[in-house]
Symmetry: C2
Subunit: 495 residues, 2 copies
């Protein structure tokens, strides 16, 4: 293969004898009386390379009009020529064209990605082509860098990657509505005597769904291998068309034996800072482009709705501040004392026992502490059954005694609110089964999960991070459908 990706070509030393071949897609073609300029991109970088031909008798023979008329935006070409110092600004090198071969043209009357600004809504409809734009290729390269940073972080720190099942017979986590997975005849499924669907005849011999979380199986792994993490697709069949939800998304779930809540918090902070730092180090050009894109977008907004920080500033803000740690009870007290509460500016009421809304989380992060926040020890009633129960009740600032709490933790970020949710897990079999009975989780359905508390139980903890939320935060994209290649949402499964 006698050609280099443009990313490498742009770093190559030019010279009169440096013959190169560029393979890529035409972003733009400009012609002047004396010269022809073709801008090429091959997806390896946000930066284009320019190919130039002086138009004179010598070139005319090689660059026939038949070829040149096919060199339009979107066409795929191979350009061979000499790598020379660039005459224009903003680029070190350019290619003096000797020859052009057109692999595949792109009819200008039909190709939808002509060189002009396209709305994100329009690009969502052509998600099969949008990775060819600057914005989406930048997002996907940053997404790649973040995914690699996730694997590298856990590998460097002694975690083992555990592939928990996608198809599952358990709905114990209760994290949300599930998709059914079946091979039964959809029109006339086999039935039991009492008229129900006879799942014993289904592929797996029972009713199965797509997983909403790999945590329970992750705990099995941690209580054998010590430290594990999952990184795979998870699913929610919730009929909510929002900019924050997908029906199919990727989740990262580390789980660690012998970690309690403080170690869990320390890991979450170190983890998320490390992967963001990795993206800043490895994607400077893509992030500079996205920073600029966001600035342009912000300019369209009213002054008071504009973000105080730019994208890069916000990323620096997160990696350079120590996350503030406080309990839910302390946070409620701060919120009750806050200006917006006293002025009646919160939409939702603040009181001990209710879940915090995005407006409250953002107030704590963006106004009060001005840094990322980790809230802990939430009321037991608003958290999942498997979280470790605190021994003592919570006590408020004025000595009020509140109901039981659990060793939960939520990491809150500027702009997006909760980015990580986790907890220490209940490792006491009796407390766990008592809580399951209270909230109606059947012990028989997860006998295998309870076995970990029966045999060699250990303190352990873990957390979950929605990967797309992280990509949204790092790329500054407002709609979660723009940070995954092919989004799945209600009524949307194209491509």
């Amino acid at each position: 293969m006698s050609y280099l990706p443009i990313q490498q070509l742009l770093k190559t030393t030019p010279g009169p004898h440096v013959t190169v071949t560029v393979k890529g897609w035409v972003r733009n073609k400009r012609e002047s009386k004396n010269a022809l300029f073709i801008t090429l991109n091959d997806g390896s970088t946000i930066n284009n390379i320019q190919a130039v031909a002086e138009r004179g008798p010598a070139e005319a023979g090689q660059l026939s009009d038949d070829v040149l008329k096919l060199v339009t935006t979107g066409a795929c070409v191979a350009v061979t020529g000499t790598l020379v110092e660039s005459q224009g600004a903003g680029q070190a090198v350019e290619v003096k064209i000797n020859n052009i071969h057109v692999y595949g043209p792109a009819d200008p009357d039909k190709y939808p990605l002509q060189p002009k600004r396209h709305s994100l809504e329009f690009l969502r409809e052509i998600a099969h082509l949008r990775p060819r734009t600057n914005t989406f290729s930048a997002i996907l390269r940053v997404r790649h860098a973040l995914a690699f940073a996730v694997h590298k972080y856990f590998n460097d720190n002694g975690f083992y990657y555990l592939n928990t099942p996608i198809i599952t017979a358990s709905d114990a986590e209760g994290a949300g509505e599930m998709f059914r997975v079946t091979t039964l005849d959809p029109v006339n499924p086999p039935r039991t005597e009492d008229g129900k669907v006879d799942y014993s005849q289904d592929f797996f011999g029972r009713e199965t769904n797509l997983t909403v979380s790999g945590q329970l199986e992750g705990e099995l792994g941690a209580l054998a291998l010590g430290k594990i993490y999952t990184f795979g697709p998870t699913f929610r069949a919730e009929n909510s068309n929002t900019t924050r939800h997908l029906a199919e998304f990727w989740m990262i779930e580390p789980e660690m034996a012998f970690y309690e809540l403080p170690e869990n918090m320390a890991l979450a902070e170190d983890f998320v800072k490390t992967v963001i730092r990795y993206a800043l180090q490895h994607c400077p050009d893509d992030l500079a482009f996205l920073d600029n894109r966001l600035k342009e977008e912000e300019k369209m907004k009213k002054k008071e709705e504009q973000s105080e920080l730019g994208l890069l500033e916000k990323l620096q803000f997160v990696i350079s501040n120590e996350f503030e740690r406080l309990t839910y009870t302390e946070a409620i007290d701060i919120l009750i004392q806050s200006k917006p509460a006293k002025k009646g500016q919160f939409q939702y009421e603040v009181k001990w026992g209710v879940d915090l809304q995005s407006e409250h989380e953002r107030y704590l992060v963006e106004k009060h502490f001005k840094k990322p926040v980790i809230l802990t020890n939430y009321p037991r009633e608003i958290k999942a059954f498997y979280m470790k129960q605190d021994d003592a009740p919570a006590v408020g600032a004025r000595g009020e005694v509140f109901g039981p709490t659990v060793r939960a933790m939520d990491v809150l970020f500027p702009g997006i609110g909760e980015i990580i949710g986790g907890s220490q897990r209940e490792d006491d079999l009796d407390k766990l089964t008592a809580r399951m009975a209270e909230v109606g989780v059947e012990a028989d359905a997860i006998w295998w999960y309870l076995d970990t508390r029966r045999f060699g139980s250990a303190p352990h903890a873990g957390f979950g991070l929605g990967f797309e939320r992280l990509v949204q935060f790092v790329t500054g994209m407002g709609n979660i459908r723009d940070v995954i290649p092919f989004p799945r949402a209600p009524k949307q499964a194209e491509f």
Copy 2:
């Protein structure tokens, strides 16, 4: 956290003032008249650490019988003591016990993993506990190392990780039976006027399935970003209970713009050698254990059924031999001329046009060439519609002219046969759609795929590797259900 994983403890310099805490699970406890020996493992390594207490008046107070009776196989404990040079053979250090804390006991009458040999069949029934055994913890650590090596390889070589969709509305690849994904009422689904299920009322507004391959979407990515790879779960709803098939498995699919068949083969060879070399470098203890396990297993077999090579020898064999490249047509000629063909020892007939069976592939790899083999240019009729059509027909050794071929490639390995399947893709819109019409793939269903050939089409190629097949090969495990944490197969979706 004032404790180290056993993997690190075993490398720590001992001394009279080196106080350590070991947290892990009891593998074994031995008592002699004068001493107590506890073998501990925490999953970080295949190697155990031994904790020792001399039994005398001084220790008796600290190690009460109440505690010691809970220290049984499977119990989780923290042992604090001094790290000293080991008196026994086979280990550098051991812990002289000062104190033992029991996190969770494991009733010897109920805990199924007592220290004796368990069959793989039995361990499959307790897949939630089997990672606590030597064999399965070794497999899972090697699986992790291989997964990380995959990401590292592609990242190092300029590929971007692309998450193709799991839920899909297209069945164009035709790679196998699919699982339906739905939220419709299973008993009384909404119906259209002609009595069919009305999928327009389903979650996605159409019929959807679990993906069998990310390739088609991968091609969209490659024709925008240049080089991409997928690494995610794929599904087959085939009712086959074999040691080689899973209903849910993980697949790796790189796809590269501007690669033709020779570059595709070079990549496949370099990729698979690199990840195997990585496992050899990073998992020497686990692979030595698995090598030994396989030797023991082989001893049970009849002499003529025993493998010629041990596990480590087989891995070295693959990374140190250049893969043999030949066409399908050449391979057929070799097979027809072969001893087993002439003696009628092949179960399946060999002739041009039929797909090769495992017995043929293994003959080529293990007997004829004695190295991995890449077969190319298969008959068009036995391969998928998207493979690039060869211009000229195949010509046999005696000048016979055979039917049309495509630029397919299969990489064949000793023991398991095909480990990688790939091809250059048909980039000519007319040839592609003509072939689709012949085999009955509807153009409307994959209009987005065809758009890549309409707009800026480029030569490109890629391949697929079933991750579990690779893990099987590297760990030497005979049953694919033993190399994934929680296998999914007909009638099997527990855990």
